[in-house]
């Protein structure tokens, strides 16, 4: 099992090492948001008084990374399922669970690198680091990434053979979840129905928790809500994922 996980991980990771620049390109959208949107926000008054706009904005971008990354992970699995390469691996004695864990592990490493890179880019802009907060924030982020990655794998498996379901769900779900989470703009001034919609969205709580953690506010109640949301997503993802792999693709 451990060996097989390493095999799957290194299969997935070698192309990243061969073309490391792709790592940066795949961060394109979040980075664009960071620089363009963030600069815009930092000039506008009335945002979270006393703190720089970056302090408010960067955690949101990190969560965004966390949503778009796993999407691509599910997509790469979908392509392999629709082609013949997944079938080929399924005929080998490779452990079924290891196929999922190895892939998720790769997403985990990529996410971590991308998050650290984003933070490093944000520091010169005025983003203040609270070391313990950053560590806790990253930990939360990574758990979310693993959960979402596993969920997107399950979705890819269920979307066979046409793959249509994958697109429908990701397009219908991802954007509303992103917009309603207050990731890019604060929800505080929106109409009541919008705020309620935002509160139901688990991503909102993760974003809030990340903001509190990156500001070093460990005692904030949002940290608890966010952590619960993340753990639920991760457990659900890994459970559904291993089950789908066991049942055969």
């Amino acid at each position: 099992m451990f060996r097989d996980t390493a095999t799957v991980f290194s299969r997935e990771f070698v192309p990243v090492l061969r073309e490391p620049l792709n790592l940066v390109f795949s961060m394109g959208q979040p980075l664009l948001f960071l620089f363009l949107f963030g600069s815009l926000l930092s000039g506008s008054p009335g945002l979270a008084a006393g703190e720089s706009a970056w302090q408010w904005f960067v955690p949101g971008i990190l969560v965004m990374l966390c949503l778009t990354g796993p999407l691509a992970a599910g997509y790469s699995l979908l392509v392999e399922l629709m082609g013949g390469s997944m079938e080929r691996l399924l005929v080998t004695p490779l452990n079924r669970t290891a196929m999922l864990v190895g892939r998720t592990l790769k997403e985990f490493v990529i996410l971590l690198v991308q998050a650290v890179l984003t933070i490093a880019l944000a520091v010169p802009l005025g983003f203040r680091l609270y070391p313990l907060g950053v560590l806790a924030g990253l930990a939360l982020l990574v758990v979310l990434g693993v959960g979402l990655g596993a969920l997107s794998f399950v979705l890819a498996i269920k979307s066979q053979p046409s793959g249509q379901l994958f697109w429908v769900v990701t397009q219908m779900l991802l954007f509303p979840m992103m917009l309603l989470s207050g990731m890019l703009l604060p929800m505080d001034y929106g109409p009541a129905w919008l705020r309620i919609a935002g509160d139901v969205n688990p991503v909102t709580h993760v974003v809030e928790a990340e903001r509190a953690l990156f500001a070093g506010r460990f005692a904030d109640i949002s940290v608890l809500y966010g952590s619960v949301a993340v753990v639920v997503i991760a457990v659900l993802g890994l459970w559904l994922g291993t089950r789908a792999m066991r049942r055969g693709v």
């Binding site: 095999t7 192309p15 392509v79 392999e80 080998t92 490779l94």
Partner: protein, 317 residues
């Protein structure tokens, strides 16, 4: 090498049960080269997917390479090679990287997996392509990569699902050359599916004809053609009374004689032997044959004789 009993698989499609494989008993001995021949949708691929543990059967049992497909799927997987209909190499990966991964998947050490990767690259003349990604390869080259992936662990039993479909004649010939040579060198048992009649006819030592999820014929191509279709002699005469006399003379050679106007057609076991004798018999009876022709059957005639349908029609549809 393969023993199945009543192996069957049903699918649920929009609340209807579709039987893809309806109880197949198949026995393949070590060293055989068996072609599963049948129209699209006959159940060949489903059968292969069950034998390779990709799909659990609805009922029935099978032992493959000495291991039960249900209780010891891992054992089956370790002992067989499988080359599916679609290309096996991932698009994002370099050919050699995929080969090393494949070796590792079969439990080889990293060093040994690299060695084997280089060996199969050489065997299939893929060395110049080792660092390329599949997207940049031609159809024939990609198929060779698939074969390399299937052979990395030197399996004793190799399954190929339509190995040459979609390739140009030259690539098809080259793929076959490789398969047959590697089979000799490694003493492999080979089971493949095809809907190319000529391919099954020329390459396979044993042809298993599958239709509607059942085995409807099993034997060498020669046997099947002799038993089920047979050679035909056709002659034409100058007038109808002559045709009648020719048909009478034909009764000595065959019990399947058909007259159609001036044409007489009879089925015989060996046409090349029967033709001179028949012509002499006609001369003795004072009948003048204007034309004489021999037709030898193809596997399509076998399929036609068995099902009343032509495999070629099916392909055109």
């Amino acid at each position: 090498m393969i023993h199945t009993e009543g192996l069957a698989r049903e699918f649920r499609v929009r609340r209807q049960t579709v039987t893809a494989v309806a109880g197949i008993d198949l026995h393949v001995e070590p060293g055989e080269l068996v072609a599963l021949l049948g129209p699209n949708g006959a159940g060949k691929t489903t059968l292969l997917r069950m034998l390779t543990t990709l799909l659990p059967p609805t009922s029935g049992s099978a032992t493959v390479a000495g291991c039960d497909i249900h209780s010891d799927a891992g054992g089956v997987r370790a002992r067989i090679g499988y080359i599916g209909q679609k290309n096996s190499a991932g698009e994002n990966f370099r050919v050699r990287d995929e080969l090393v991964t494949q070796g590792r998947s079969y439990g080889l050490t990293r060093a040994r997996a690299r060695e084997r990767a280089d060996e199969v690259l050489a065997q299939l003349e893929l060395e110049p392509l080792a660092q390329r990604k599949p997207g940049t390869l031609s159809g024939g080259q990609r198929r060779r990569v698939d074969i390399a992936l299937g052979l990395i662990h030197r399996p004793g039993l190799l399954f190929l699902d339509e190995p040459s479909t979609g390739l140009d004649p030259q690539s098809r010939a080259s793929i076959w050359e490789h398969i047959l040579r590697l089979r000799r060198e490694q003493n492999m048992t080979v089971v493949l599916t095809t809907h190319y009649l000529e391919e099954a006819d020329r390459m396979a030592e044993r042809v298993v004809v599958v239709d509607h999820g059942r085995v409807i014929a099993d034997g060498t191509a020669e046997q099947l053609k002799n038993d089920l279709a047979g050679d035909h002699l056709t002659i034409t005469t100058e007038n109808e009374p002559d045709a009648g006399a020719a048909a009478t003379a034909a009764a000595r050679f065959s019990d399947e004689v058909a007259v159609d106007g001036l044409t007489v057609r009879l089925r015989v076991p060996r046409a090349v032997r029967a033709m001179p004798e028949y012509l002499r018999a006609l001369e003795a009876a004072g009948v003048k044959a204007v034309t004489a022709d021999i037709t030898q059957p193809t596997l399509d005639d076998v399929f036609l004789a068995l099902t009343g349908r032509s495999l070629r029609d099916d392909q055109a549809a």
